[in-house]
């Protein structure tokens, strides 16, 4: 293929669309200078080629990656797609080209710029997913556990298996504010839906009671002679703080146990008690 790029590909913003761009580049024997969606298109000297998404072509590219590079490489591509790297399309394109040339060992080429940048982006994604598994806080709203997150990467699908196992017999939902997606689960099934402008349901009366208890525990457990803001921020970055119950300054130090809490003491423990 001639080395000098002369076109920019414009695609529809889906992973299938990106795979079609890769297909196109091999078919026409040309290298795009950039791969962008229509809203990021800017005036430039390069010719713009619109790439149509064809599921059959996308499947062929996926099969090619799995076969020539390895199933692990395909997982890396898929995770890389969900990361928030600003130039993920170009990165993935270069990675696939490298993989087609070198085969299975492309993932061991950690000193290469493309592989290194891609594995770093994937690591950032999985680290954020793990941090959200740690820091997401649920509230009881009726018989459903609800939570809200604001991640930089698209982490909902990575969090789903963990929470669907943990709360196997409960109904819960997690709302991703940044990507406007909603994860819904009830015993036996789960799915992720797009959700524009979702409003979180109201929490139960006794919810404040348990939040206040948790905050009380959190304040008591620190050893006074070892207080270190810096150490805490190292492990718990500030951007998670606005959804953390224990750092909510509005919670009271003590509360009367609401009447509904007496009756609902064992609510949410048995599936039959859910609404």
């Amino acid at each position: 293929m001639p080395d000098r790029p002369t076109v920019i590909y414009c695609y529809d913003g889906t992973l299938e669309g990106l795979l079609c761009c890769i297909f196109e580049s091999y078919e026409r024997k040309e290298q795009p200078a950039d791969i962008v969606t229509a809203d990021r298109l800017q005036l430039s000297f390069y010719k713009v080629r619109e790439i149509e998404t064809d599921p059959a072509k996308a499947k062929r590219v996926e099969a090619g990656i799995r076969q020539k590079m390895s199933a692990e490489s395909w997982d890396t591509v898929w995770l890389g797609w969900h990361s928030c790297h600003p130039e993920r399309e170009l990165l993935l394109y270069r990675f696939v080209r490298l993989g087609m040339r070198h085969g299975r060992q492309v993932l061991s080429m950690l000193a290469d710029d493309t592989v290194s940048a891609l594995t770093k982006a994937v690591r950032y994604l999985t680290r954020e997913a793990h941090q959200y598994k740690q820091f997401v806080r649920f509230s009881a709203a009726g018989g459903v556990l609800t939570a809200e997150i604001e991640p930089k990467n698209d982490v909902l699908f990575l969090m789903a298996p963990h929470f669907c196992d943990r709360y196997r017999n409960n109904a819960f939902l997690i709302y991703d504010k940044t990507h406007r997606e909603l994860l819904l689960h009830r015993p036996g099934q789960w799915a992720i839906f797009p959700a524009e402008d979702y409003i979180m349901p109201d929490v139960r009366e006794d919810e404040q009671f348990y939040r206040a208890l948790w905050k009380r525990f959190y304040d008591a457990i620190a050893v006074e002679g070892r207080i270190s803001e810096r150490r805490r921020m190292n492990h718990m970055p500030k951007r998670y703080w606005n959804h953390l119950t224990e750092l909510d300054p509005r919670l009271p130090e003590r509360m009367e146990r609401p009447e509904s809490a007496e009756k609902g003491e064992r609510a949410l423990l048995l599936p039959s008690e859910q609404e």
């Binding site: 070198h102 060992q105 061991s108 080429m109 950690l110 000193a111 710029d113 290194s116 793990h130 598994k133 740690q134 820091f135 997401v136 806080r137 649920f138 509230s139 009881a140 556990l145 963990h162 196992d165 943990r166 709360y167 196997r168 017999n169 409960n170 348990y210 939040r211 206040a212 208890l213 948790w214 009380r216 525990f217 959190y218 304040d219 008591a220 457990i221 620190a222 050893v223 006074e224 002679g225 070892r226 207080i227 270190s228 803001e229 810096r230 150490r231 805490r232 190292n234 492990h235 718990m236 953390l244 119950t245 224990e246 130090e253 003590r254 509360m255 146990r257 003491e265 949410l268 423990l269």
Partner: protein, 433 residues
């Protein structure tokens, strides 16, 4: 007494027990009504002192009948006492767990009436959680020294991890500061737990659904700075505990003065946080880097160097082994280079199979070149523009925090009076050039 007060009192009493992890066992929720366990452990929050909170760490009761000098709950201390009922504590655990505040429960207790009575109360709490609520999350239970073996066995079948706190690193200090606890009373349950764990593992080989005894293993804790024991003694003790009892972790807790006593440091003594940090660094070297306690400290050097971490200190004292070739050295030797950790060493071994590495490549792999460049060569050549002189090497190996500890006369290497002298370093390093 309302629930808020109880929770505050019993959390306050439990916080000096630093064991915090929820790691060591993978379990799906398939056999439970709620809850799973993840072997890497999940830290749900971090307290204001920077320590991780992954479990609801409380005492069943802090109304102790013993009088251990160093402990805030000792019977002669004037503090508020509280007790959770088993049902109360089990319900609280479930409520917190559902909201993703915790991975499970960490249950310890002061000795109420007798060790057996205390153990029975703890067993009741765990029984409600495991059998009535069918809780599948993580439970860490402390074995009460002096309790009957049958009770401890029952506790282990309900918990994921068990631990017995050694607390004081030598028998002499134990006799002085905690006369109600004898050395045998502490080591016997540790031996029992080790036996039960290996029995349970053998049963699992034969019967796939055999019940498991403490599947996440055993751990312990030692207090640093309450007694005159040296780092060398503590490290040797840790190594022996790992070997003899198959412990997963040894925790070190810097002594926080809570009481004045003729046998303990004064109330205004600052807690030995740096010493605790060095011990954790050494502990990691023992477990993941293939070091032995004798390599890090010996009879002549009984304390850690306050300016250098144990690995760098060892490297400086063994310069005859360096530089190593990044593309050829075995994994175990790469681990010993300052600036290369377990992750970087694994990446180096993986990447060098497909292509030769240079220093730029090493940087991309995550190696801390600022330190490693003095100890490595790539393709036979040392890093460009790097001059290896004793002064420069030492300065780069000292972390920023320790640099502030150095007195202002920067040029005098004689401040390193502990493990190394100027002559040693000059000989080692100039001999290599």
């Amino acid at each position: 007494m309302d629930l808020f007060d109880k929770l505050e009192i019993l959390a306050n009493s439990a916080k000096y027990d630093v064991a915090c992890t929820s790691s060591g066992v993978n379990r799906s929720s398939a056999g439970s009504l709620i809850g799973n366990a993840v072997s890497c452990g999940i830290c749900h929050s971090f307290a204001a002192d920077g320590r991780c909170i992954s479990l609801l760490k409380v005492l069943q009761s802090n109304a102790c009948v013993y009088n251990c000098q160093y402990c805030v709950n000792r019977v002669s201390n004037d503090i508020r006492r509280a007790t959770f009922t088993p049902r109360e504590l089990a319900d609280l655990t479930i409520h917190f767990y559902q909201r993703n505040y915790i991975e499970g429960l960490f249950l310890s207790s002061a000795v109420v009436k007798s060790p057996d009575h205390t153990c029975e109360k703890m067993i009741e709490t765990l029984r409600i959680l495991r059998e009535e609520y069918r809780f599948g999350g993580y439970i860490h239970a402390k074995a009460i020294p002096g309790a009957d073996s049958l009770l401890l066995s029952r506790l282990g079948m309900l918990a994921d991890r068990m631990s017995v706190n050694i607390e004081l690193p030598s028998q002499k200090s134990l006799e002085l500061l905690a006369p109600d606890k004898s050395k045998t009373a502490i080591l016997r349950p540790m031996g029992l737990i080790r036996e039960k764990i290996s029995e349970s593992k053998a049963d699992l080989v034969r019967y796939r659904h055999a019940p498991q005894f403490a599947p996440a293993g055993q751990s312990t804790q030692m207090i640093i700075g309450a007694t005159p024991d040296t780092d060398y003694q503590i490290l040797n003790l840790s190594e022996a505990l790992y070997r003899k009892y198959g412990l997963r972790r040894v925790f070190y807790s810097a002594y926080m003065p809570v009481v004045s006593s003729p046998h303990l440091p004064a109330l205004d003594t600052k807690p030995p946080l740096l010493r605790e940090h060095r011990l954790y660094q050494a502990d990691w070297l023992l477990r993941f880097y293939g070091f032995t306690a004798g390599e890090l400290l010996d009879e002549k050097h009984q304390s850690f160097n306050p300016y250098l971490d144990p690995k760098c200190n060892w490297a400086i004292n063994h310069m005859e082994l360096f530089p190593v070739e990044a593309n050829k050295a075995p994994y175990e030797l790469l681990l010993r280079v300052p600036g290369i950790g377990v992750t970087s060493a694994k990446r180096i071994v993986k990447a060098r199979r497909v292509c030769s590495l240079d220093f730029a490549g090493l940087k991309k792999l995550g190696v801390v070149l600022k330190r490693a460049q003095y100890f490595l060569t790539c393709k036979g050549k040392a890093a460009e523009g790097v001059s290896i002189t004793p002064d420069i090497v030492l300065r780069t190996l000292i972390s920023e925090r320790c640099q502030q500890l150095l007195p202002q006369e920067q040029e005098q290497l004689s401040l390193f009076t502990t493990a190394i002298t100027r002559e040693d370093v000059t000989q080692c390093l100039t001999g290599q050039l």
